[in-house]
Symmetry: C2
Subunit: 394 residues, 2 copies
């Protein structure tokens, strides 16, 4: 049995549990006699191209466990889409380093990068087992029931909305909270977990999957204010009008990454525009907007325990599957087993299942009124997110 070295890297937006996947993979790889060196490339593919590695056999288990608990991508990240020439440079590097296994932790764009590397390796005749390890707070991988990173971000969002709803109870008016999710509304939908009582917010939930119009928004808010005397709105950063273009993208900087994604996070423009709209056209005096921003994926100490465990297991599963070698260009599908008890399986499937295209919130999870979620969605999401701090009112 030939011993080969492995490279692991992280890519795309960080999450609260992406380091769990890294540590899961590293600890699993340490057990194997087939794997020699465990190299962590800094900043994804960028680190491979610039020969920037960490020796991941060195850190103590204690240190790795502390890294696992830490949000963000401990190896650094990038948003680079490799082309054929990048791949040639990568294989030249891998040849020197005797790399036989490559693991890439990230979302659909990172899966696509892994797919490109795997396909180019085949073309070049370079023997490489490539595994993508799923991660995205957006929960939009087609290959997964849900993705590591989502549950913790959803726990942040639902906790934040639960507290913010009480703030709105205290001072009244309309509150708009803008939540991450470029193409898929799962994270915004998870705000519904904040509700305990019938009149708790969020009172209105807007997803990118439903056409957003100013007219409906104003009408909905007026109706909610009439009913509750106040209103909390959870709005996805990806909401879009009839033309299909995200409203936030039109208001933003127009900046794009190498996968063609327009910048939408890291600005308060959408929330502010909606607040201005309500003041002008709905005649509501007190309107406030917060954009939850990067805190959703990086706030320490509040990750979902289930999400942490699943992130860890997904990393380990990728290494196990790679060592088995049945599938050489893979990703780990996260499959929910049927039955009343929540149970997850980790299945190796072809990497293209996760690559490039995203998954939207299914119709059966969206309420007919177009501004809420269904009980089916709540049943789906609850076990992934876990408990949210209880809040009591008089």
């Amino acid at each position: 049995m030939k011993k080969m070295n492995m490279v692991i890297a992280q890519s795309g937006g960080p999450s609260m549990v992406i380091n769990q996947s890294l540590v899961g993979a590293v600890l699993e790889a340490r057990k194997s006699e087939k794997i020699g060196k465990i190299l962590g490339a800094r900043h994804g593919i960028v680190g491979i191209l610039s020969n920037d590695y960490i020796d991941l056999k060195k850190p103590s288990v204690k240190k790795l466990e502390a890294i696992a608990e830490t949000p963000s991508s401990a190896l650094g990240s990038c948003r680079k889409k490799p082309d054929a020439s990048d791949c040639r440079a990568i294989f030249e590097e891998f040849r020197k380093l005797k790399v036989g296994y490559f693991f890439y932790i990230g979302g659909n764009d990172s899966a696509d990068a892994a797919r490109i590397v795997a396909e180019e390796a085949e073309k070049e005749g370079y023997p490489l087992i490539v595994y993508h390890i799923p991660k995205t707070i957006d929960n939009d991988l087609r290959s997964c029931d849900h993705t590591p990173g989502f549950g913790s971000a959803a726990r942040f969002v639902a906790s934040a909305i639960r507290g913010d709803d009480l703030d709105n109870r205290a001072l009244g008016g309309v509150k708009i909270d803008v939540i991450m999710g470029r193409d898929a509304g799962f994270l915004t939908a998870a705000s519904a977990l904040a509700r305990i009582r019938e009149d708790d917010g969020p009172h209105l939930i807007y997803l990118p999957e439903v056409v957003f119009t100013e007219e409906k928004f104003i009408k909905d808010v007026k109706a909610a204010v009439k009913k509750y005397g106040r209103c909390v709105c959870a709005v996805s950063e990806g909401v879009r009008g009839k033309d299909g273009i995200p409203i936030g993208a039109k208001l933003g900087s127009g900046e794009t990454d190498s996968h063609g994604n327009v910048q939408m996070s890291g600005t308060g423009a959408l929330g502010d525009a909606l607040a201005t709209l309500l003041k002008a056209k709905a005649g509501i005096k007190r309107v406030r907007a917060d954009t939850f921003g990067y805190l959703q994926r990086s706030f320490p100490g509040i990750a979902s325990k289930v999400d942490q465990a699943e992130g860890r297991a997904a990393g380990a599963a990728a290494v196990k599957a790679a060592l088995k070698g049945e599938l050489t260009k893979g990703t780990i599908a996260i499959v929910r087993e049927e039955g009343r008890k929540y149970k997850i399986a980790y299945a190796p499937v072809p990497v293209q299942n996760a690559a490039k295209y995203t998954r939207s919130v299914p119709k059966e999870y969206i309420a007919k009124n177009g501004h809420d979620v269904t009980e089916a969605f709540l049943e789906y999401v609850r076990p992934i997110v876990g408990d949210i701090p209880h809040c009591e009112i008089f």
Copy 2:
């Protein structure tokens, strides 16, 4: 001994521990034979004027303890400054209800409201003991070493910056985080607690107490990027130029409350403007801005334990002082005892000590370079905030 009823209410911006003060006062009042009914007015003075009360002898201790753990103002809040005619209406109401004690939990504007009520009562000859109970996340009461609510908001801010700094490590560029604090920079200054390692952010800290100029900001950011390869900036929402007018207020809606405060929170305008400035004039490609917003005062489950205990104790201290009756128009000063060990005393002092005017971050807490805090500040703030989730890096 004549038994009199008491009214308690909450006012101004909510916090994570304002309900601790409410519960501290209620549980203390329940012990006294001098106090008959304990009435919680909904939405501060507005509830008194509209005869809207909760009977606070009814809820179980278990329920009250759950309320104490809950962020925001459980009785509801308001931002109303009472005038002489409001006060006459209040005393008419109080006479009917046989109210002899009035407690008002809030910041400097709420202390001023309590002062007005107390002075008008004296003029009218209505016998009323009035106590203000300190609360403000801004930490800007002149009567307190620090205020209940600040430690928990600071814990949110320092935790958020610690995680966000790792996000910036992973993806690079410049991150601007806008933090609450209309006139005082204590909360923004507390972001410095996020640092563990020498190169951890925040790399730049801007307080309202130091004149903010575009030129210095651009120069500082460029220098930080040169040194660290990236930069995290903690910027107070109250930063102001040479004219003394907050930059955020100029960019905002211009909305004011009845105490004359201009709206600055609940909008991303300041962060977005600073990001646009850096892109245009500092030639930095990746600039992101988040405005932490209302989450700083309302996020559940992460309050500072010291802050919770002090909020509770301040509420109880006000009731004890009112029952003693030596000072009839009071507030509770939070005094830090000298010595190496952190120890707090709660002293009744005249209500005007807390009213109207605010306290700024003292000069000895601001670094000479104008964009950092001193070790003296860190020593001051550390025990109030308590531990922050540890984050490990390679």
